[in-house]
Symmetry: D5
Subunit: 187 residues, 10 copies
Amino acid sequence: MSLIGKEVQPFTAQAYLNGDFIEVTEENLKGQWSVVCFYPADFTFVCPTELEDLQNEYPALKELGVEVFSVSRDSHFTHKAWHDSSEAIGKITYTMIGDPAHVLSRNFDVLVEELGQADRGTFIIDPDGIIQAVEINADGIGRDASTLINKIKAAQYVRNNPGEVCPAKWQEGGATLKPSLDLVGKI
Amino acid sequence: MSLIGKEVQPFTAQAYLNGDFIEVTEENLKGQWSVVCFYPADFTFVCPTELEDLQNEYPALKELGVEVFSVSRDSHFTHKAWHDSSEAIGKITYTMIGDPAHVLSRNFDVLVEELGQADRGTFIIDPDGIIQAVEINADGIGRDASTLINKIKAAQYVRNNPGEVCPAKWQEGGATLKPSLDLVGKI
Amino acid sequence: MSLIGKEVQPFTAQAYLNGDFIEVTEENLKGQWSVVCFYPADFTFVCPTELEDLQNEYPALKELGVEVFSVSRDSHFTHKAWHDSSEAIGKITYTMIGDPAHVLSRNFDVLVEELGQADRGTFIIDPDGIIQAVEINADGIGRDASTLINKIKAAQYVRNNPGEVCPAKWQEGGATLKPSLDLVGKI
Amino acid sequence: MSLIGKEVQPFTAQAYLNGDFIEVTEENLKGQWSVVCFYPADFTFVCPTELEDLQNEYPALKELGVEVFSVSRDSHFTHKAWHDSSEAIGKITYTMIGDPAHVLSRNFDVLVEELGQADRGTFIIDPDGIIQAVEINADGIGRDASTLINKIKAAQYVRNNPGEVCPAKWQEGGATLKPSLDLVGKI
Amino acid sequence: MSLIGKEVQPFTAQAYLNGDFIEVTEENLKGQWSVVCFYPADFTFVCPTELEDLQNEYPALKELGVEVFSVSRDSHFTHKAWHDSSEAIGKITYTMIGDPAHVLSRNFDVLVEELGQADRGTFIIDPDGIIQAVEINADGIGRDASTLINKIKAAQYVRNNPGEVCPAKWQEGGATLKPSLDLVGKI
Amino acid sequence: MSLIGKEVQPFTAQAYLNGDFIEVTEENLKGQWSVVCFYPADFTFVCPTELEDLQNEYPALKELGVEVFSVSRDSHFTHKAWHDSSEAIGKITYTMIGDPAHVLSRNFDVLVEELGQADRGTFIIDPDGIIQAVEINADGIGRDASTLINKIKAAQYVRNNPGEVCPAKWQEGGATLKPSLDLVGKI
Amino acid sequence: MSLIGKEVQPFTAQAYLNGDFIEVTEENLKGQWSVVCFYPADFTFVCPTELEDLQNEYPALKELGVEVFSVSRDSHFTHKAWHDSSEAIGKITYTMIGDPAHVLSRNFDVLVEELGQADRGTFIIDPDGIIQAVEINADGIGRDASTLINKIKAAQYVRNNPGEVCPAKWQEGGATLKPSLDLVGKI
Amino acid sequence: MSLIGKEVQPFTAQAYLNGDFIEVTEENLKGQWSVVCFYPADFTFVCPTELEDLQNEYPALKELGVEVFSVSRDSHFTHKAWHDSSEAIGKITYTMIGDPAHVLSRNFDVLVEELGQADRGTFIIDPDGIIQAVEINADGIGRDASTLINKIKAAQYVRNNPGEVCPAKWQEGGATLKPSLDLVGKI
Amino acid sequence: MSLIGKEVQPFTAQAYLNGDFIEVTEENLKGQWSVVCFYPADFTFVCPTELEDLQNEYPALKELGVEVFSVSRDSHFTHKAWHDSSEAIGKITYTMIGDPAHVLSRNFDVLVEELGQADRGTFIIDPDGIIQAVEINADGIGRDASTLINKIKAAQYVRNNPGEVCPAKWQEGGATLKPSLDLVGKI
Amino acid sequence: MSLIGKEVQPFTAQAYLNGDFIEVTEENLKGQWSVVCFYPADFTFVCPTELEDLQNEYPALKELGVEVFSVSRDSHFTHKAWHDSSEAIGKITYTMIGDPAHVLSRNFDVLVEELGQADRGTFIIDPDGIIQAVEINADGIGRDASTLINKIKAAQYVRNNPGEVCPAKWQEGGATLKPSLDLVGKI
């Protein structure tokens, strides 16, 4: 069974955030919407473009009340060093979690054991810590963070409007559906 | 570990395709690029909007050499009946696979056992039958099939150009990256 | 050992009944006599003739205080759609249970695992939820619902008249037998 | 899973037939259609009425090429004695199998272990030894052998006419169905 | 280890006794001396001669305070029928136990599993339900019930005269032995 | 299941016979009829009377072609010493087997483990080494060897006349029975 | 690990002592020093010479407060008979234990299973039931009971004089050793 | 079962012998008679007196063709050092085996695991490597090597004179016994 | 995982210390810093040079509040004898633990099972009994005890100054490091 | 048992060496002497001082024919980045292995699972890939690479001069020992 609808499992990790080292647990993924973005490794090639892309969407995500966390098997020390030395990474203002013991990668089922690194997986988590959406790409294929915005808006709409669902390609303000017996076979 | 990089497992299923009942196996997912789109159930609400959306992208996908397969736990008989009675579904010209024994849903790890239905999971599969990308949404949140186009183009580019990778938000014709020691820490 | 004399196991299912979606549990099979009729699949061929035949006997069964439930692996959504589109099925006024997770099919031991569908099994259940009679046909052979009437009358007679049993071909009002030592070897 | 579609398992048993003791094996259930009728015990009450009823249908069944076997946990000696002493049983010309070691009752899944006797189960078996229909009643409720005729005619028709199926309440000469895509949702 | 010195195990059985059906349990084998006589099957050949022979000794046994029980895998119905139809068996006034579920045959270790019938075993049981003597013959060799008389007299003497034992060929009134150190090697 | 119909298991033992020590194996129990007589212990009280009684029947048994073996847990040395010192035992001319390792007692299922001694069991064995009759008495009750003569004659008659059986109380020259269908229920 | 330093395990046995049969348990081996002498079998060859030899030392052992027990797999009846008939054995005034169920032989680890007899083992046991010395010879080699005297004197000296030990070949009244750091390497 | 009659198990050990370090295996215990003498520890108190005592008997043992081996858990280095510094040990000319890995102590069943040292066990081994006699004393009680001489002479006599056995207290040249039926009960 | 950071496990051992035999437990390794030095065997070659070397550093170690323990599989008796006879070992004033049962060698993971001896392992243990440093050399390579001094000083500094760490080659009084975010990538 | 004397296990890893990424396997640790130096993490505090210290000894080690490998759980990308940005690390010319999947850390038994990082362990490996020395410090205590020189010289001397061993504190050119019986207890 996929992780959709499952609650995030407990963890404790060290992270780099805006010039500080902080501790992050599963509690930090609750109480607001969260995006958790796994990537294979610091100081590589596709990863910084994805993290920069995510940073570009960060203000929009924050407006939606979404917190952002990136995760790789590298330590918080390495995240700090990468932040210091890379122009793209240096812009990042969200939390960069270190996962050298592979705890989060295993919990989110994205660890490639023989490489000791994560798949390119993005998870949208609701304020109860429940996973609402997953997207994973093979290693050479970068993600597009802008697609997160609509998904989160749809997820938030559904959460806030029990009894309505968002159809395909739904955009904020667009029509939603109220499942009912009368609609069966009528769509 | 996620299914990224794994080969599709063997299966045999009955499907509805353009007014005919046909048999589909894992071999039909090989030899060309494929999109496999799971949805919970026929005759429901979000599902038809997603399947119609996927149909709208079908010509563009075909131009990229991509074949499309939808899958639910409903039988090919039910797919046929839905196709006959629903305006949206009636437009569909791709293969609608019946999975009443839950074989494919289990193979692709999207079966919700207690409901006997699949999560909203989309899989991009390369011509060798290897899964290259996964996207799964919670039940009330529709997918946007248009995001498949760029992902598949990127995956095809990477397959056709060994040694290059596609950065975040890559668009056809855009710059790619050639991983090299000189680039380490320079992006 | 066969299921005769066993109590129905607990379950929770969604069903279509007279234009409504309702929830059905094992408790709904108790307190009155029940007929539970499994069939392989909606939108097929023998099945609708059997369900229509059962509907034709439904008034007579109701007079005997018998409630009727049909069950297939299809969902309540599909049952509704079939009800809407099929002349035969559209007449049905008894409860059509959806069993996409195969819970009832397993409980009543009629699931064909590799097809994900049920055998053509009919069960007569007494007001205590105890199975009193079973009849199962291979897939291509339709049942005859009229034979249920006499069986149920005999079962009701035996329940209401402890110490009497109904001989072969017994018809309501016909002679019954009181097992006694004197009858041994005399019939 | 029910026994429908399963082949009869090997056995060797002693039987009484028309004034002789003979040996019967699973091979005797093949090569022609067979009805195997289990009943709880010789020298009891409902059982002789059922066996007599079955004898009454025996000529009609033979015309259909059907062989008949009754089975209880009593020995062939007891069957002989019952045949000698009971008017009803004395008429019987089909094979009466003794099953004191409970081998057949276990194979056909009708043994009530704590009583050492079988449920009232009737099985229709095709010339390949495959079980095509099952009917089991609780102990006090007699069966009606006449319902076997139509079931066997339907089963024979389906066997002889691949591609056709018999609808509910089908009678010899009545219309059958040829499952086809065009019929989906049209019945 | 043999069953000598073991207590009879609990059981519940139906039996035929003097024109009535009664229930018999292990308690009926206690409180007086008992003979339990297993035989293979009703309506056979050696068995009735043994049962008649046992009936002939029954008055003498009763004078010794001994109750008699015969047991076969046949039901009490069959015992009744045999009693009705056989001249030899019709004389029987002791209890004929039915053991179709093979419970007693297993408890007394005389069941031949593959035949579903008992060996020709006779058991002498004291008023505490303890087995004091066993005799078992192969199937074609009838027993001689008259040898029971002396054995039971010896067993009763030993029970009533603690400290004495009965030598070989002992007859009522004959000399017994008082085991003592002085007798060691002197007999 | 009892030992009736079972073949004697392999063993090797030391024995005392007519002033010599010899080795005895299961082969010595084949090729002629044998009586094997277990008793608890040498130098005790009932045992010598039984062994003397058996010696008295020994000539008659030899005329029937029967060999006799006594067995206790005592060694062949002790058998010799008993033979030397006891008047009764001194008469014995059959084979006295020593079983200090309890091999035969276990094989014939008469060992009382906590006492390290055998029950008073007598076994009649046919020339194929198959056990045909068993008789076991509790410890204080002596056996009567004369009852062996008739049993063995019956067993020999049945072996020599396939198709005939010996009724209860059968004596040499008496009528036997030929089991046949006509006799069922007629005895 | 050897049995040295282990406590004797519980047992109950019958024994012959001075014209009486008595019961012996492990408690009889406590409260005084004991010698337990196993031998293979009564009425054999080396054994009586050893038992007579042990009897010759018995007065000296009693003066040391030592009780003596001989044990073989023969019964107390056989011990009595041997005592009656053998000149050597007739002199014995210590306890002769019967071990036909092999309980003591197993407890003292001297049972040869395939022969059902004990090795020639002698055990010295202190008043707490703890084994202090063991000596075992192969079957044809007789023991010399006189060597027990010195061993027991040494064992008693050590028990009575904590902190002293007896050197090799120690004789009563001879010098002992007080282990101390100063003696290390000085002997 | 004791080790009497068992063959010594394979081992490889380092030993000190007459100023040299040598390797010893189980093969060195074969081809001649051997005495293996375990003791707890070098540089202790009783042990050197026993080893010296054994040395005193060594010439007599050699005349009997017996080789001598002492064994403790100490290494051959420690044996050498002890030999150098102790007057008693310095006299030793037989082989002193080191067993720091406890291999021999375990093989001869004398290891006290919690102390990592052996019991005071002496073993007589015949030229086939079969153990013929065992003697074990508790820790504070020294052995007397002179008792080995007679035991070995008896063991050698029995080996060289098949069919004769040595009675208790046998001395070289003394009478032996030829077991025969005539001697049973006569000793 | 290595033993670094693990607490020493419980043990009880006999030791030689300054002319006395004493008992040592894991409690003696707590309350002050300890060095535990394993070596293969007494009376060998490299070992005494290492133990002497360690003795030479002992005064300096004591000034640092460090207690020293040497351990080999030899007994405390052998340690005493070695101390008496060897010039180098005779100087030793620290505790020499005997480990003939291999308890400490197993606890510290340095036992070579097949030789029954320890590797050349040195352990530094803090006052809480936690292992802080390990050094192990192959058998022929002597250790240099002087390197312990600096390691212990560094370990003590770190323990006494939470928040500081000692860089490579640190000497007492030298600069230490205070890990902080600012230092990341700056060393 | 420690890793001393064990061969390095197979592995495949990516490493950074002098401006290139290379693949390293266990074969690279054979054919010459090797030092493998584990440390917890890149971009931390004690680690760079240790790696720089090791670099300072690298020329001397190379003269001894020793190759050097550092290992942490960081990737070769991170090693490259650290090399680029740190003055101390930038000097390094030996191989820096990345072990993000923890394969080497597990093989060398230094992985702290819950932190996903290695202990500070240094291993000396001979040209056959056999581990000859181990040194491990707790996390805050830096190592001193200069102590490797003497250890390796000693290990090389022992390898090149079979039959000699190096005493404690041995320096190149110093006296070695030839173990011989004469030296026992003389050092």
